[in-house]
């Protein structure tokens, strides 16, 4: 019944209006953070994870593709950005041809981020071409396998410094204007980066492309019969999601000032699933709320030691058993709104 009424009125505009209002509220809250006494580093960390989860949600929530290796994009972009901001060399060793090395010196933050995004783009094109040929559990397993491959690659390659990670990354001056070592400046830069990524996702979901994605999620054979080349749509969604996850990783480098194996480990891929489920799958704001909940737990419960993982597990179980739509999903359902 509800679907009929939803379709009878222009659902698109009504849903978008709710989402726009929520966006304005979210932006206002984020702008106010430095004056609220909240710890800005915590919020920045949460925003990076929120963007990461939003990118992941684009794929699973709207494309129906559960990627279990999304950490590889975040980690790759993070490593490349960190390396470029700290060292700035690109070296290749090609068999038979020989070695060549480009030394650009430590790059500015914006150029480092661009390199990070390019790396995430290349990786998502390559892995996407392989992974989107399968659906469901097979898709999840292929992405997991590929991300494990990437993990072991980063364990070995010299530029990542193995398990020590890349440390002490200079924050530098963004566009030569903004001094990122100032916490307030850094906060607003991260916030703008997050909002930018969020708007791209927002636009994508509410575009004809997003509609086709949802159609593929609901019934792929039918979408094919309507003449859509579903593989191309899925690949594009995968790439978009990968690059945005990479963007989150690049931003995170300037917050944490280190890039380590944690960000490419499979547990990170699991964490983003947890964030998205707790917040609300296939809701625009769910991953943002989920990220704040999970990161707050990790930060503020750190004193409880081993109980953090137990508490996380309990919350996950409670979430799946009692409010399956996630926090935002349940609220949206209760008020019959689209969030």
């Amino acid at each position: 019944m509800t679907t009929i009424t939803d379709n009878s009125i222009p659902a698109q505009t009504r849903g978008t209006k709710d989402e726009m209002i929520a966006f304005v509220i979210m932006t206002a809250l984020l702008v106010a953070v430095p004056f609220s006494g909240l710890y800005p580093f915590f919020v920045m960390q949460a925003l990076c994870f929120a963007l990461f989860a939003c990118a992941f949600n684009l794929l699973i929530g709207y494309g129906g593709l559960l990627s279990f290796g999304h950490a590889m994009f975040m980690g790759t972009a993070g490593y490349v950005t960190a390396h470029m901001a700290k060292v700035g060399t690109i070296g290749f060793k090609l068999p038979l041809i020989g070695e060549f090395m480009i030394n650009m010196g430590p790059l500015s933050p914006e150029l480092s981020i661009v390199f990070g995004l390019i790396a995430a783009l290349v990786l998502s094109v390559v892995t996407g071409l392989i992974a989107i040929r399968r659906q469901g559990i097979y898709f999840a397993m292929i992405t997991l396998a590929l991300s494990q491959l990437i993990f072991f690659l980063y364990l070995q390659t010299p530029f990542t410094h193995g398990e020590d990670g890349i440390q002490g990354i200079p924050q530098g001056m963004l566009f030569g204007l903004f001094d990122l070592s100032q916490p307030i400046t850094l906060y607003y830069v991260i916030m703008v980066g997050f909002l930018l990524g969020f708007l791209i996702i927002f636009r994508t979901i509410n575009s004809p492309f997003g509609e086709v994605l949802k159609a593929i999620r609901e019934n792929e054979p039918r979408a094919v019969s309507l003449g859509y080349k579903t593989d191309q749509y899925k690949l594009l969604a995968f790439i978009l999601s990968g690059v945005l996850a990479g963007f989150a990783g690049s931003l995170k480098v300037f917050v944490a000032q280190n890039a380590s194996l944690t960000d490419v480990h499979w547990t990170m891929s699991g964490e983003v699933v947890l964030i998205t489920l707790v917040g609300g799958l296939a809701t625009l704001y769910g991953p943002v709320v989920g990220a704040f909940v999970i990161i707050a737990m990790q930060q503020y419960l750190a004193g409880f030691g081993q109980w953090v993982t137990v508490i996380q597990g309990v919350i996950f179980v409670v979430c799946v058993l009692t409010f399956r739509r996630g926090i935002v999903g349940e609220i949206a359902h209760l008020f019959k709104r689209s969030l």
């Binding site: 193995g162 990790q298 930060q299 004193g303 081993q306």
Partner: protein, 405 residues
Amino acid sequence: MSHVIARLLLGTAIAVTTVSAAAAQDKNVKIGVLTDLSGIYADLAGPGSTLAAQMAVEDSGLKAKGWTIDVISGDHQHKPDIGANLARQWFDREKMDMITDVPNSGVALAVNNVVKEKNGVYINSGGGTSDLTNAQCTPNTIHWTYDTYDLAYGTGTALTKAGGDSWFFLTADYAFGSALERDTTNALTAAGGKVTGSVKHPLNTSDFSSFLLQAQSSGAKVIGLANAGGDTSTTIKQAAEFGISKGQKLAALLLFITDVKSIGLDLAQGLSFTETFYWDLNDGTRAFSKRYAERSKGSAPPTMVQAGVYSGTLHYLKALEAMGGNPHDGAKVVAKMKEMPTDDPLFGKGSIQPNGRKIHPSYLFEVKKPSESKAPWDYYKLVATIPADQAFTPLDKSTCSLLKK
């Protein structure tokens, strides 16, 4: 006229400085034990490190002299960004003065940067990476208990001198494993030994049989395990199944007493490795360990890492006492700590080098046979002592920038 004003101003300035110097006799200290409370190092460091820090505070006797010293602990969950953020939060919000422990090299290095940025004091006990006193050394960091160089060097030299002069390496295939193998090789060749071969295994392997058979057939007297954590335990257990320890000697390059307990004496007997502290070493360590075990979880004696937290915290508090107050200036306190010789019943007399490396003797131990072990945690036989001045990276080989004047 202007002279008078200038004099007056100068006078006021002097008065203000004297007043602020008096106000600097601040006797509040906050110590943060950043450790692993939930993961694989929770027994090695974890709550035991917090206890060690608290005991150091009690033993310093400063509380009776009117000091307020708080010890809090946090879990880094083995994630460098969580560790770094927690440290940053401690400095920004809690006005933390000193951070100690930090097992896990990745987290240790991340925290190292934060402490320098915030000008705090960082006494690392749990982290093994020798980078802390080389490429990444800072004027705020002291690396207290051990490092990978020390363990590799101790085992390589002392075991070779004790007759194990041909080695075969089982190396975990990543930078850390290669570094351990390289450091040990340098030490053992300098001591007159030779390497007959080595084999690399992937990280987190569950089946070491082919690697162990290669090691067995190499005929080397010593099999060096250049790996860590679960890999080392698995290798030792499987080596026992192959009966390797009967003909050849196993030498672990990174192993702790808690690992020996979890492997069990049956399988671990005869294993050689280096540590800088053992609870049953002398009267001083026994007395402390007895007091410690009365309060620790499962009455366990302190591990090397926990002992290091105690010793480091104690020395830190001694330095503060000598300064007459807490200046809340990390670099200054560390400079004072380097100036003062260290002395405590756990590590004996020692000193801190300009690059932040605390030096004390290291010991090569051999795991006892089950029949020789008389009490719980009675695990080690002392084989050799490596004197303090030889145990750690020589200063002329340290790449620390603080050494370049």
